[in-house]
Symmetry: C2
Amino acid sequence: MARMLRRLRKGFQSLTSFSAATIQPNLSASESSRSEVALLSFFSPKPRDFSLPNSSWGSEMMRLYDHYNSQCEAETEGGQTQGSPWQRLPSYNRSLKYAPGGVYLSKIVQSKARLFTRNIREPGAAFEYALFVNKGEKKCVCIFQAGWLLEGPPGHVHGGAIATMIDTVTGTHATFLSGPIMTANLNIAYRSPIPLGSTVLIESSLDTQEGRKTFISCKVMSTDGSKLHTEATVLFVSINVSHLVRGG
Amino acid sequence: MARMLRRLRKGFQSLTSFSAATIQPNLSASESSRSEVALLSFFSPKPRDFSLPNSSWGSEMMRLYDHYNSQCEAETEGGQTQGSPWQRLPSYNRSLKYAPGGVYLSKIVQSKARLFTRNIREPGAAFEYALFVNKGEKKCVCIFQAGWLLEGPPGHVHGGAIATMIDTVTGTHATFLSGPIMTANLNIAYRSPIPLGSTVLIESSLDTQEGRKTFISCKVMSTDGSKLHTEATVLFVSINVSHLVRGG
């Protein structure tokens, strides 16, 4: 059990996002033992990055993706970017599987488990999104196209799906800034409903960091910035990953 | 357009839940014209009620379902219950489709759209839940079993999936009390993570009603009541349904 915890802890330390949706794999040979790499390549073919464009993306998604992606530097072999303040964060459908040791652990913890925001493979059906983080401005931007399986009020996105995206974007941002965290408080004001099928912009900004607490603000807007759909403040607390394994 | 709005408004007035997940069909011949009933029966076979037990439900879900269901009176032909304060609310996978006129409108608004909490047909994979409302105590109870597609932190339920269930339960409750509403504010405190696969109890209580505002409190607890996982306060505002059709 202690060994399992050590492996899990090590795995989490390499994750960019923890509570939320976007997870960075860390499979470089320099940081993983040869046996782990061999194990990973045996169980896992190259994972699908769900944040890359697909045929379901509308023209507004593509325009915004190109806008932010063109400001990112190409990734080096180690998955790092340098020089540009913007970085695109890849996104997979499992929290645990692609961390060192995670393939082994995911067999034990929940073999069928899938990340909530990436649990449907059909392109365009549910959450289509890509995240870009700006290291200099401590800001994160997400472009989000809402699919037909996210309905709440007829023809509009469910309040829970909007909450899910806010938790995902701010959680990814907080993890990027503060390491492993859990959402402690999520306070959302819904201003204007989001039509199903539309593309919106989600902006996350750091308010302050105090000890174990990270305070983030978030806005969901129309892509031209003229309409505020939703705004939120979110509090995250830094965690010791072993608490989760021991049952919170 | 005016005719369409009238039909939509009439449809919504008969819905038990609007912003959230549980929708009551209203297909009785006494309230719909013959032509509407014919249209409905042509397009819609008897819809699946997702809140009925299925093979994925664990022993705790079944025990709690039996506990609350035994306190409900059997439904009469018109879908009404009398005498007992408890009522089970059926749940379908489309907001609009089963309201009078909704079949016609759903073809226009979004033919493929599915309610966010009922968008996966595989039993046990995502949100398994049943809602019971207590008219006398102005209280609503939901039993919720979290499937493997709702993962956030490894082995635990995503904060957005918990927010979704809170919005769904309190939204259904608010609609039951106040008619058509939209979520205006959702304030959630996450106390303890919920293990994937577990069953929890979600309780919704009316705090107060002031003009167009309905204030609801909500708790997510272990089924024996010993552990508080999450608590929330939610504000709903009563709406005129035509605002949605006109684009919020």
